[in-house]
């Protein structure tokens, strides 16, 4: 079971402790993390791993290896600490945490930090959102448990969002907006697609649905489902319009919620085929629980219509190339979320030492959310 790691050194003095099985999986120095990667900043560097990885040996990128020696023995074990110090020993030492409870807490903290930003909350998929206040409080407690890895750096407190004390919304903030219809894509497709142009009763030339690229909007704006976006091209009185609807993130709409500020309003980019005719871009507006927008359709030269949703200023305006692997990764993350919510009832939440397997308090609350 114990995995081996390898200690690598970059010419600039950076050291990397990477699982032998995936030596360059999280090239923190150069790479771009995928949406399943969590990062924990620790004394002397970063820890990164995939929350989908059952083995979960973090990759450590250390720009101050000496400072990191304060905790390397506890997370990776003494042989790894010796290898990092340049002492002779096994080429690929096995990972045997000197403090398994600490290793479990760090793992759990990394998962909680990831969930805070990437949890695939979706009304369409019936994946309840996590309560921000509960999550913040749990992260703060985990940060305390993980004192050793943070060291006594002054910046340690500020590295973690929960201790900034800017969070802590009301406990029910994540609830579904009153009147929204939970579950099933049908209701939303109806609500979303035809609404802007439905009155004109034109000729529907094409329609479809799609997901969004989660990297292109911050959390809390749009539904994470692969069917969250619906579109239709309608011909009315000599004009061809395309109407887009994007299901809003759970709980975004509702009387109790303040309006979304202008700088957080997402835009849709609509095009057809790859390359070819220029795409049209339109600001969406929130109508109940659907972001809506419509525009005069671009010259669709017969290619498949695509819709990209992004927040200007957050992500580049240019849509990325379509990537089937990205959709598969999103599907795996939804599976993870469903699995975790389902296991709330089977795993004893109070059992210590389970590390990330133990549900977060916010997950327990989400599993009991009756609206989902």
């Amino acid at each position: 079971m114990a995995s081996a790691v390898r200690v690598l050194r970059a010419p600039d003095g950076t050291a990397v402790i990477a699982p032998v099985a995936a030596p360059v999986a999280f090239g923190v120095a150069d790479g771009v993390p995928d949406i399943d990667v969590t990062v924990v900043e620790v004394a002397g560097g970063n820890l990164a791993w995939s929350v989908l990885d059952a083995d979960r040996v973090p990759t450590a990128v250390l720009d101050d290896p000496d400072l990191a020696q304060g905790w390397v023995w506890a997370l990776y074990g003494e042989p790894v600490a010796l290898a990092l110090a340049g002492a002779a020993g096994d080429a690929d030492p096995a990972v045997r945490p000197g403090s398994p409870p600490l290793a479990a807490s760090v793992d759990r903290l990394g998962y909680a930090l990831w969930a805070q930003r990437w949890w695939p909350a979706s009304t369409v998929d019936a994946i309840a959102p996590l309560d921000e206040g509960l999550l913040d409080r749990e992260i703060a407690a985990l940060v305390e448990e993980c004192d050793l890895v943070f060291g006594a750096e002054d910046s340690a407190d500020a590295l973690l969002p929960a201790v900034e004390q800017d969070a802590g919304g009301p406990a029910d903030a994540g609830g579904l907006a009153a009147g929204a219809e939970p579950g099933g894509t049908g209701g939303y497709a109806l609500a979303a697609g035809p609404a802007p142009v439905g009155r004109a009763a034109g000729l529907v030339l094409a329609r479809g649905s799609a997901g969004t690229d989660w990297r292109r909007c911050p959390p809390g704006l749009v539904d994470a489902a692969e069917q969250a976006v619906t579109w239709q091209v309608v011909r009315t009185a000599g004009r061809t319009e395309v109407a887009v609807g994007v299901v809003a993130a759970p709980g975004l709409a509702g009387a109790a919620r303040p309006p979304v500020p202008a700088h957080l309003v997402p835009w849709a980019t609509i095009g057809a085929g790859q390359g070819g005719a220029p795409a049209v871009r339109v600001a969406l507006r929130l109508v109940d629980d659907v972001w809506q927008g419509s525009a005069v359709a671009p010259e669709f030269g017969g290619g498949a219509v695509w819709v990209d949703v992004h927040l200007p200023g957050f992500a580049p305006a240019e849509p990325p190339r379509a990537d089937p692997a990205a959709a598969r990764l999103r599907a795996r993350i939804r599976d993870l979320a469903r699995h975790r919510l389902a296991s709330v009832s089977t795993v004893d939440g109070r059992a210590p030492g389970l590390g990330p397997a133990r549900p977060l308090q916010a997950e327990v609350a989400a599993a009991e959310d009756e609206d989902f």
């Binding site: 403090s99 050793l148 202008a262 580049p316």
Partner: protein, 460 residues
């Protein structure tokens, strides 16, 4: 690790321990390392890994300190209890109390619950209420008096008018300006390289040379004038550097009210704001001069080059500019362009920005590198943050100036290149963390109660 193992044998130290039963990071940093182990005196206990002899010595030292540590822990519990009773929330209790508790444990042993609550109260008051009349209210009152204002305004006028006056010492030593960039690069390389005593000595020597050349003073004086076109080296104006909003820095006003939320760029701040910031941030106000002396000193200071009185600090600001204009947060892999040779310091800080950009992506906290033109209201929070990344030296120099100014007021010069690097590096970290905090705030979708329009932190 040795520490961790022996620590677990010690009874009664839970208040100083972490969740796994080992010592807290601050226990190691503030108590064990400097007060019990003292690796400077015992090189065999220094460094990340110790040999068996060092390990035995470490264990013996810790066991020998067991009683004192237990007493320290008891004092700390008492301090926390009294802190709650006094409703003090300021500061991190570990940071603020650990060393005092150790001192009490060493001199008085374990606390007696009944008797020593008074001692704890007294110590907490001493640690927290140290204003001794140096309050922002006293400052406001001092500046509100018409007599004071007349006198201080005259003083300010005189000092400002005299600032450009030639001093024989201002005449540059032959070749001084030509030597300056290389000396600055030496200081920056030495600080960041951590490459041993040789580099540190070279760095200290270069820093001392910059001070004796008056490089800081002259660079600061240049900021009062429009930069002259130079065929090779571009001179940055104070406005470009973000030190003033105006084409040239003007005479500071005396001022009368300040809230840290509305502070302008450093050289545009009023005398009142400058002193206010120091009083507001200081936890050691009793050690400062009294308010009247603070104001007078600030009037002299604000008319000095860099608005700093001490030449080592002005050199610090000058070196800081060389570092700051080479920061590339948007493209950290790229080498700094122009006259600024990439030093080890540039590489280190830009590497940190690169790591930050990885963390920000993993946290879904990105900012589009190219402002999205007509789609984005140019005054929106995201556009502002993106614009700051295009001129990262502004935020950097604003923070750096605030720190140097704080040292100037307390009379703490920079004594070596390592000390300067600690300041420069600390500012770099703060700028990155500040960027992240602002981004996070800008990207959070408001829930429940409408968000208070949070003033952007500018106090540095």
């Amino acid at each position: 690790m040795v520490i961790d193992e022996v620590w677990r044998e010690l009874p009664g130290v839970e208040p100083l321990s972490n969740a796994q039963g080992g010592p807290l990071s601050r226990t190691v940093k503030l108590i064990l390392d400097p007060l019990v182990i003292r690796p400077v005196l015992r090189p065999e206990c220094a460094g990340p890994l110790v040999d068996p002899d060092g390990a035995r010595l470490l264990a013996a030292l810790l066991r020998a300190a067991g009683d004192v540590l237990r007493a320290t822990a008891a004092w700390f519990s008492l301090f926390k209890q009294v802190r709650r009773a006094l409703r003090i929330t300021e500061g991190n209790p570990q940071d603020r109390y650990f060393q005092t508790c150790f001192q009490l444990a060493t001199t008085a042993g374990a606390p007696d619950r009944d008797r020593d609550e008074l001692v704890a109260r007294r110590e907490l008051r001493r640690l927290h209420d140290s204003a001794a009349g140096r309050t922002t209210a006293a400052l406001r009152d001092h500046l509100a008096s018409p007599a004071h204002r007349r006198e201080l305004t005259a003083l300010l006028d005189t000092a400002w008018a005299a600032r450009g006056r030639r001093d024989p010492a201002d005449a540059p030593a032959p070749g001084a300006d030509a030597a300056t960039p290389e000396l600055i690069a030496t200081v920056l390389n030495a600080g960041a390289a951590r490459s041993g005593p040789a580099a540190a000595t070279a760095g200290d020597a270069a820093l001392a040379r910059l001070v004796s050349l008056g490089a800081g003073r002259r660079a600061g004086q240049r900021l009062w004038h429009a930069p002259q076109a130079h065929p090779v080296r571009h001179q940055h104006s104070a406005q470009e550097l973000g030190l003033t909003a105006h084409a040239l820095p003007g005479k500071p006003r005396l001022g009368g009210s300040a809230s840290t939320a509305a502070l302008g760029p450093p050289l545009d701040r009023t005398v009142h704001e400058r002193v206010f910031t120091v009083l507001h941030a200081a936890s050691d106000r009793a050690e400062l001069p009294d308010v009247a002396a603070l104001v007078r000193a600030e009037i002299t200071r604000c008319c000095a080059p860099w608005a700093l009185a001490d030449e080592t600090l002005r050199v610090g600001a000058t070196v800081g500019v060389a570092l700051a204009v080479g920061l590339r947060p948007l493209d950290p892999a790229a080498a700094p362009v122009g006259q600024d040779a990439a030093t080890e310091a540039h590489r280190l800080v830009n590497r940190r920005w690169r790591r930050e950009s990885y963390v920000l992506r993993a946290r879904r906290l990105t900012v589009a590198a190219t402002p999205a033109g007509h789609h984005l209201a140019d005054d929106g929070p995201l556009a502002r943050i993106a614009a700051e990344l295009h001129a990262p030296w502004r935020a950097y120099l604003r923070r750096l100036w605030v720190r140097l100014h704080g040292r100037d007021v307390r009379g703490v010069p920079l004594t070596g290149s390592a000390e300067l690097w600690d300041v420069l590096d600390g500012v770099a970290r703060s700028v990155i963390l500040d960027h992240r905090a602002r981004l996070k705030r800008a990207l959070s979708v408001p829930t429940g109660t409408p968000p208070a329009t949070a003033p952007e932190s500018r106090a540095g």
